[in-house]
Amino acid sequence: MSILPQLVINSIIAGSIYTLVALGFNLIYGATKFFNLAHGVLAVVGGYTVFFFFKEWGWNLYLAVLLGVILAGFIGYLLDKFIYFPLRRRGASGMVLLVASLGAFTAIQAIIAILFTSQFQTLAQNVGGQTIYEITNAVITQTQVIILVLGLAILAALAWVLKYTLFGKAVKAISDDEEVARIVGINTDKIIGWVFFIGSAIAGLAGIMVGFDTGIEPVMGMALLLKGVIGAIIGGVGSLIGGVLGSFLLGFVENFGIWKISGEWKDAIAFLLLIIFLLFRPKGIIQK
């Protein structure tokens, strides 16, 4: 019996989770041109909000998920309003913004650890009792099917919004040149605030999905963030489709990489892939 089909499925699931992180990261990077490291911790915020409302308070699942997504988006928005926006207005360099986002990341992660302890928690209620589908020797859980479908749906929705709405066009204008966008009358600060909300909300959703698939812990944000960032970069920063391709490539390389060696090497493999790309194809798969 070959484990090949299972590896393919695992790669696709990993790829779709990374895609969600990469989508939000790409959106924010496009508009602001800095590495928002706090993006990862918003996934943790999303996951723990659902944990709190759904598992501890026993609220309705869909309501809890909705709250998780909105809260993650809202915190992302607040970070922009109170930290990144003042810094941008002062013309701070990308490095200052990067360090500030690192600080926000560290603080929020620790606050979550204080509130919910550092323990690993799962969001799923019937652990091990999930519906499982079998496809030629490989299994895929219902949660994973939902992850896949939802991931694709959000990708499609985001692509549509960016392409056909006025908001999307404004985002594109800001990504090309913020100053010119402002001159032609786009309220760039407001649009960027929305970009933070949407990007962070998608990250929150990614965290929730991870929580249902395996589980959440306060420190998961960094790993998730780095995977999303790697996906975004090897795909081509600023390109939506590139981010998706990059994330799936990362998912496949990671899962096939550990075919013969221990799974603990996953992170190292991911970064090796990034470094190889940066050295030999620095602009990523889709070059802009």
């Binding site: 800095f34 590495f35 930290i83 003042p86 810094l87 701070a92 360099s93 990308g94 490095m95 200052v96 913004l97 990067l98 360090v99 500030a100 690192l102 600080g103 926000a104 990341f105 560290t106 603080a107 929020i108 992660q109 620790a110 606050i111 650890a113 204080i114 960094m222 780095l226 960032v229 970069i233 221990s262 603990e264 090497w265 992170d267 190292a268 970064f271 090796l272 990034l274 470094i275 940066l278 050295l279």
Partner: protein
């Protein structure tokens, strides 16, 4: 009293880490977040040489510096291709890769189990034998190394070599026009700083007498970065003050009445907020002369 000696020893170790990282980040302007990797390589070299081969601490320290230097050279070669955000991100990556090696090369490092029973240093010369087996003697040793690091760092930064580093930070193109081969300078200071971090690692391994991979994570690198950002970029005094403050912070929190596991997290909250506030209001840190 013992407790104060313990804090002072930890402070000395982190001050060495801060001083060395400041050479790269503050003086040369390269946002490297991989210092814990070199700290770890130094610590593991000492741990393995002492427990497996019964080697003298000081020999292991020198071997650790050499090994770290070689690895830092290779990492620096790759890093020198990048700048700005990408430099920081790739340095993240190297920290994670080195951490994975500590965790997974179990034949050498015993993986997550860690290496226990690392001996304290002893010095044997001309019939004299000094064992640094009490905490106060170890502290003295750590302070000697701190003073050595301090004087090395200041002599680097006040030399013509140091002036080239600052020039690279301010305007790399301009200094290239004057005929300086800047990648060579960047690589040299990166390797030197890594070797100093290895010294801190050797001291740490021998002092705590047990190490495991969890000490050398990316978070540790961020912590060291916080030391110099708080204290001040491109300021030796800043590195010292930053280390002092961040080492004392959890103790202060514990003193105020937080239980120790919450105090550890509170420290993260406080220094995270400090990073944010400094970036907003004083990006060069307390004593710093340079801002990104």
């Amino acid at each position: 009293m013992d407790y104060l000696i313990h804090l002072a020893t930890l402070f000395s170790i982190y001050a060495i880490l801060g001083l060395s990282l400041n050479l790269v980040v503050g003086f040369t302007g390269l946002l490297s977040v991989t210092h814990a990797a070199f700290y770890g390589i130094g610590a593991y070299t000492t741990a393995i040489l002492l427990t497996k081969f019964g080697m003298n601490f000081f020999t292991s320290l020198i071997i650790g510096m050499i090994i770290t230097g070689v690895i830092a050279y290779l990492i620096g070669l790759v890093l020198s291709r990048f700048k700005g955000d990408y430099y920081a991100l790739v340095s993240f990556g190297f920290n994670i890769i080195v951490f994975s090696v500590f965790l997974n090369w179990q034949a050498l490092t015993r993986g997550p189990l860690g290496i226990p029973g690392i001996a304290k240093p002893s010095l044997l010369s001309a019939g004299w034998r000094i064992d640094f087996n009490t905490n106060i003697l170890f502290l003295a040793l750590a302070i000697v190394f701190l003073l050595l690091s301090w004087s090395l760092s200041s002599s680097i930064t006040s030399s013509s070599f140091g002036r080239v580093l600052k020039a690279i930070r301010e305007d790399e193109k301009a200094i290239q026009v004057f005929g300086y081969y800047t990648p060579g300078y960047k690589l040299t200071i990166f390797v030197m700083a890594a070797m100093m971090a290895a010294v801190a690692g050797s001291l740490f391994a021998s002092y705590i007498s047990f190490i495991d991979p969890s000490t050398f994570t990316l978070n540790e690198s961020i912590f060291i970065l916080a030391i110099i950002i708080l204290g001040g970029m491109a300021s030796h005094r800043g590195s010292i003050v930053g280390a002092l403050f961040l080492i004392l912070l959890p103790e202060i929190l514990r003193f105020v009445g937080f239980p120790s596991d919450i105090a550890a997290q509170m420290r993260q909250v406080v220094y995270g907020l400090i990073l944010v506030l400094l970036m907003l209001y004083r990006p060069q840190g307390l004593f710093g002369e340079f801002r990104f």
